[in-house]
């Protein structure tokens, strides 16, 4: 195994230009688990953690940029995100453990492309984009498009995910996050969910809704049929419960070591209902049948 530790992006891309199939390392909380007792089988490891250009959370107008090397702890502590997107902080706060959060990065969480990745649903709910950088060119792709399946993304061989950005939700929009795990810490999601909701305060009609679920398919899935059943309608409990039933149409959960497809399906519906209740409470929208 050869180890490389570029100090900035120029060094990094110069390095990558001469290399094929490098393995990228950032926080190490996925890579070193996967290669436990097998690190010697890796040929070239490029440590991104020292590349200074890739960190930091910045606000430019209404665009929020999160550098790929931002750790989950930094997300949890961010004053900017506390104001703009606290749901992302809730998601980060439930990842692993304090030790994991101090090292794990948002770039790793996304590029690792686990269907259970906890940061992904919130980011897709705000229509986040990822910046992929190569030696000479940067390109921008929607996060939802970027993720293809378990461990599969659009990243080309000499490309690195460098930035995640999104437009700050408006004042009348709210984003919420829900996670269900098998215990209260160090728990990979059995199902997770994020939704963005915008409601017309005068007539309680749903103006906009985006729902994304993780761990219920090969990648994060958008619950379009649920959205369609709700958009433009006046919100009430019955509508939410009927919408929940539609969740089944949009997801394809499997049986695996952690849970069953049947259970995931049932819980996905419940997380949707809870997400809606939380969103409405945050928007301070009074709804029929909702206590």
């Amino acid at each position: 195994m050869e180890y490389y530790s570029p100090k900035n992006s120029t060094e990094l891309f110069k390095l990558l230009a001469e290399m094929d199939q490098p393995t990228f390392l950032a926080g190490g909380t996925d890579l070193l688990v996967r290669y436990y007792n097998k690190l010697d089988l890796l040929e070239k490891v490029v440590d991104l953690s020292k590349v200074k250009d890739f960190g930091g959370i910045k606000q430019e107008g209404d665009q929020i940029h999160i550098g790929a090397l931002t750790t989950h702890q930094e997300i949890e502590d961010s004053v900017i995100l506390e104001k703009i997107l606290p749901a992302l902080q809730e998601a980060a706060a439930e990842i692993g453990s304090p030790q994991i959060r101090h090292r794990g990065t948002i770039g790793g969480n996304i590029a690792n492309a686990s269907p259970a990745a906890d940061l992904v649903p919130v980011l897709t709910a705000v229509d986040a984009k990822v910046e992929l950088s190569g030696a000479d060119v940067k390109r921008v792709v929607g996060l939802d498009d970027f993720l293809l399946g378990p461990g599969q993304t659009l990243l080309k061989e000499q490309e690195v995910l460098t930035d995640i950005f999104f437009s700050a939700p408006q004042n009348d929009e709210v984003v919420v996050f829900q996670k269900l795990g098998k215990r209260r810490a160090l728990s990979i999601s059995v199902v997770n969910l994020a939704l963005l909701l915008k409601v017309n305060q005068e007539n309680s009609e749903i103006v906009d809704i985006k729902i994304y679920l993780g761990s219920v398919g090969p990648k994060v899935l958008r619950a379009r049929s649920v959205e369609e059943s709700l958009i433009g309608k006046k919100i009430n409990l019955k509508l939410i419960l009927e919408g929940a039933k539609q969740v089944e149409n949009d997801i394809s959960p499997i049986d695996d070591i952690r849970s069953t497809g049947e259970y995931r399906s049932q819980v996905a519906q419940e997380l949707f209902v809870r997400g809606m209740k939380e969103a409405l409470a945050r928007l301070e929208v009074d709804v029929d049948g909702l206590s």
Binding site: D40, L180, R183, I257, T260, E262, Y263
Partner: protein, 753 residues
């Protein structure tokens, strides 16, 4: 301030090194020029070995030796009860943990690389996954002796009559899962061989030094005097360190390579290759009257002992002997089967089989109470043991039966009656479980412990006890007893590192026996020492015995201000050729149970009783259970170290919670699907409830100062208490552990339909 410390909180004797990070566990031994051992394990759980090709691995630079069974025909089998485990597998694999080859290399990494280069070809056989399949007539044999390793019987009274007297007869089947003990330190050790003395020295943790010594000696075909086992600090055990793990392999490779050798299991290896808790099927058929008398109890226990016997014959029948719980029942019939399968072998885990049995009987008790419309507390008090009760083995309980006190105190401390009214069927439930646990091997199994105390010239005490301290605090207990008898400060006591070369047998740290056995042996030794000190002081000071007292580290003549320090007495005694060394032992007798009925007038020396009450909240939309509070009332006779008793109770509760809700080693077709900690889940700090432990002291038990043990009983009531609480909350009864959210949700949905 006195130094007598029985009943008090004292700092544990071995704890400073632990908080400083200086404690040396088996994984922490390092030396230069050491070789690293890696076991090459089966890649098929039941297969004939056709060919083993180690040639490529041998060529790897830094690999010093690779051996297989072929080169070592002289090795004998090992095993705790039945010697059915091969050191290196000769003809066929029986489980994924089986060792086919051993590699010695200059580094762990090289050993791992060598392992990847070894090629083995197999002829696959049917993999027997379930004991019920193993018990079928035409099932392939895992061992030539047959798939049913053994069976046991229990018979008391007249079972037919008992059922005839019943108003209601209720049958249920309960199942428990395969659990991993998961001590935080995996198996590890270091060994070296002295070609001149032909002695093997092995540093590796074991719950019973002298038993492992014999097992290793027998496997290698040498006298036990040639095996010196040295005990490092032990990183938890819970039953997993009873069986041989690294010891024989290390000894072998130390001799063959002529070097010091080290082996450390990975967590996956530890989970796949070392013992588990027996998964059990327990069927109970009970007869009960409308007024709440239990008239009959019939039990069948089937235990999956996996590929090897280990403690299986004992574990499974202990489940049978404990299968009625602490309740007066005149008519009992039972049978147990210990069955081989191709799963990782099952052995000892906290509670042995009594833990699984308690889940079954305490669930059944709650079911019966509900059927006849009686309050669960009332039902238990009505049928519960008291002095004079007779156990299923026919033993009359003549002392220390604090069961009802544990029930009453747990009920009071938890405010049970009020909570039951407030909660119950509103997704918040409360449940209880009362259990009993026989201390020690019992059953006439010859067992003893010894302890030696020496007073040094400087007045410090050197204590030799081979009792394994696995974290529970037995060394502290020993120190407390000595301080109590001799009125001498614990700070002046030193414990030598336990080993077989210079120490006598203290028996196993298991079966909840150390408080009784090593405690009594220690008290015996301390009293012997006290007598010696009195004797020399009597002669030297010319004072009559009744006027001698020990105060402030000296033996003094009362009222005269003259006396001798312990150091002075030691020097005096040594000069006379009678060095101040005292040895104590404890050799109690129990009776061997009758083969047909299990009758044994004295089956166990003492029984510990524990009642726990659990408060839970069930999320009926997700099936998740939150345990909010557990109140535990433990009858341990006399609490020698109350804080350590609490520590055991809290730790046991955590383990019981894991058993109830989340722990499950999933083996399919002989292959473990979750050999890692991300998918084998134990409770984290955030999963824990508030725990209150009440110590009930019935004071006249067989242990020192009337004490009984807590180690295993601490965890036994937790799972049934939680399951009973879930039933109280949502009217759904889970009969197969663990009660995962998936199972609870499924049960809720079917109960709605």
């Amino acid at each position: 301030m006195g130094t007598r410390s029985v009943g008090k909180k004292v700092a544990k004797v071995d704890v400073i090194d632990k908080v400083l990070g200086k404690a040396v566990f088996a994984t922490d031994y390092y030396s230069d020029d050491m070789l690293y051992i890696k076991a090459v394990r089966a890649s098929h759980p039941h297969a004939l070995i056709k060919e083993i090709d180690v040639s490529k691995a041998k060529e790897l630079e830094g690999v010093e030796l690779i051996v297989t069974a072929k080169e070592l025909a002289e090795l004998n089998n090992f095993g705790l009860i039945i010697k059915d485990q091969e050191v290196l597998v000769r003809e066929k694999t029986r489980s994924m943990g089986d060792v086919i080859a051993l590699i010695a290399a200059k580094s762990e990494e090289l050993a791992r690389q060598a392992e990847r280069l070894i090629e083995i070809t197999y002829e696959e056989l049917e993999v027997i996954e379930e004991p019920l399949r193993a018990m079928e007539d035409e099932a392939p044999l895992i061992h030539q002796s047959g798939n049913i390793l053994c069976s046991h019987n229990l018979k008391k009274g007249d079972i037919k009559q008992g059922f005839a007297e019943a108003d209601l007869i209720i049958s249920n089947e309960f199942r428990t899962q395969r659990i991993e003990q998961l001590p935080l330190q995996t198996e590890a050790g270091v060994a070296e061989y002295d070609p001149e003395t032909k002695v093997y020295t092995i540093w590796a943790a074991t719950q019973w030094l002298h038993d492992t010594q014999i097992d290793v000696a027998h496997a290698l075909g040498v006298s036990p005097t040639k095996i010196n086992l040295v005990q490092p600090v032990i990183g938890g055990a819970f039953g997993k360190r009873e069986d041989v793990s690294v010891q024989i392999h290390l000894a072998l490779m130390a001799k063959l390579t002529g070097k010091k050798v080290k082996q450390v299991y990975t967590r996956a290896e530890s989970m796949i290759a070392q013992s588990k808790r027996h998964p059990m099927i327990i069927r109970i058929k009970s007869g009960v009257t409308y007024t709440g008398e239990i008239t009959a109890w019939e039990v069948e226990v089937i235990g999956d002992t996996g590929a090897y016997a280990s403690s299986g014959p004992a574990v499974v029948h202990q489940a049978l002997y404990h299968s009625t719980g602490p309740y007066n029942i005149d008519n009992i019939a039972g049978k147990s089967y210990t069955v081989y399968t191709n799963n990782t072998y099952s052995g000892a885990m906290r509670g042995f089989g009594a833990t699984q049995a308690a889940f079954a009987y305490e669930s059944q008790i709650d079911i019966l109470a509900k059927e006849i419309g009686m309050d669960p507390v009332e039902f238990r008090l009505k049928n519960g043991y008291q002095r004079g009760s007779i156990t299923p083995n026919g033993q009359e309980l003549t002392s220390s039966v604090g069961l009802k006190e544990t029930i009453e105190q747990a009920v009071e401390a938890s405010n049970y009656q009020q909570i039951k009214v407030e909660r119950g069927n509103k997704k918040r439930g409360v449940g209880m479980a009362s259990i009993m646990f026989g201390n020690g091997y019992g059953e006439g199994y010859p067992d003893h412990s010894t302890c030696e105390i020496k007073v040094e010239d400087d007045g410090t005490l050197t204590i030799k006890t081979a009792a394994a301290d696995v974290g529970q605090g037995v060394l502290t207990l020993v120190a407390q007893i000595i301080s109590e008898v001799l009125n001498y400060p614990i700070e002046r006591m030193n414990f030598l590192q336990a080993n077989t070369a210079t120490m006598k047998n203290a028996g196993s740290t298991s079966t909840t026996r150390q408080t009784l056995f090593t405690g009594n042996a220690t008290k015996n030794a301390a009293e012997n020492m006290l007598a010696q000190i009195h004797h020399h002081a009597f002669l030297e000071l010319g004072a009559h015995y009744p006027s001698l007292e020990i105060k402030d580290g000296k033996i003094m003549v009362k009222g005269e201000g003259r006396g001798l320090t312990f150091g002075e007495v030691a020097r005096l005694a040594k000069a006379k050729g009678q060095p101040l060394i005292a040895e104590g032992s404890y050799f109690p007798k129990t009776d061997v149970p009758d083969k047909e009925t299990g009758f044994s007038a004295k089956n166990y020396l003492a029984y510990t009783f524990n009642t726990q009450i659990a408060e839970v909240v069930v999320d009926t939309e997700t099936g998740q259970v939150e345990v909010e509070r557990i109140v535990a009332a433990v009858d341990i006779g006399k609490a020698i170290h109350p804080q350590n008793i609490e520590g055991q109770s809290e730790g046991g509760t955590a383990m019981g919670l894991g058993m109830a809700l989340m722990e499950d080693q999933i083996i399919e077709k002989g292959i473990t699907k979750n050999p890692n900690l991300s998918n084998y889940l134990v409770p984290t700090s955030l999963d824990m409830p508030e725990i209150e432990t009440i110590i009930v002291e019935s004071k006249d038990a067989a242990g020192p100062y009337g004490a009984k043990g807590i180690g295993e009983p601490a965890m036994i009531p937790t799972a049934p208490a939680i399951i009973n609480a879930i039933e109280d909350a949502i009217g759904v009864r889970i009969k197969e552990l663990p009660a995962t959210p998936e199972k609870i949700l499924k049960a809720l949905k079917s109960s709605e339909e």
